[in-house]
Symmetry: C2
Subunit: 134 residues, 2 copies
DNA sequence: TTATATTTGTCCGTATGTATG
DNA sequence: CCATACATACGGACAAATATA
């Protein structure tokens, strides 16, 4: 909780280290973070530093932010099991804006791309688990 | 190239639409973008808007930025083919900072997680292509 | 080697708009 | 209607890394 201004690490990255509390489950999915102004007062930082830290957590898919409401720990959706078949090739990447809109994806969530021959299927990575048939 | 200040879409997102030039290949991997100050003059925007637009492209894995040098179209590494086996389960997500450092990953690149039983393997998504054995 | 200019990184402060409750 | 909260955009300042002369 103590930020060190003399450290080489920028303050907003030190603040983003509070992700420990999310990863560990101390802050459960759906729980609300303090507002940006509150965080600014608590840590003695101005808006830009606070927003940069939250941006880091958002790009890591750990939190979601809604305008006029606030930032909360992201709730993961149910995963649908998708069977892979012989010859399938799988990659993943960040979606471009069109794909994020099309699939209504949260920031920080990748897409999984499955190719078979010339056929290509795209899935939001947080809504599927690919499984190799036994 | 024409930004519309009266549009509902924020200026930095309109500017990020220039990603077309990267996706289409008009700007090939490795090519350098104009500096932030140059872009600001060209589009009549101040630094924050320019930086926000570049942030979007960076989080989409389309460009990389080096301090003191500038921003260039990201060069994709070679992909190693990794064979999947019966019972493997595959997901993908954004890496947290520790993982990005550990694997020396560019911003905007996800990790692919392969589980088999209690065993878990993690790969940088831009350096592998998973393949289901025929 | 040294020095300088360029370029991005990291903060601050402020103002206005818009969505939510 | 009002208060709260985030989104967008402007401005400035200094530091650090890189490239160039």
């Amino acid at each position: 909780v103590a930020l060190d201004p003399r450290s080489d690490r920028p303050l907003y990255r030190q603040l983003a280290d509070e992700r420990r509390r999310i990863v560990s489950g101390e802050l459960p999915p759906g729980s609300k973070l303090p507002s940006e102004t509150t965080l600014g007062q608590e840590y003695g930082l101005a808006m830009p530093a606070i927003r940069s830290a939250i941006n880091v957590l958002r790009s890591e898919g750990l939190v979601t932010t809604e305008r006029g409401f606030g930032t909360k720990v992201r709730v993961q959706p149910e995963r649908e099991v998708v069977e892979l078949h012989a010859g399938d090739r799988v990659t993943a990447r960040a979606p471009i804006e069109d794909e994020r809109r099309q699939f209504d994806m949260d920031p920080g969530v990748p897409v999984i791309v499955v190719n078979q021959g010339s056929d290509e299927r795209i899935y939001p990575a947080d809504r599927v688990e690919l499984s190799v048939h036994t």
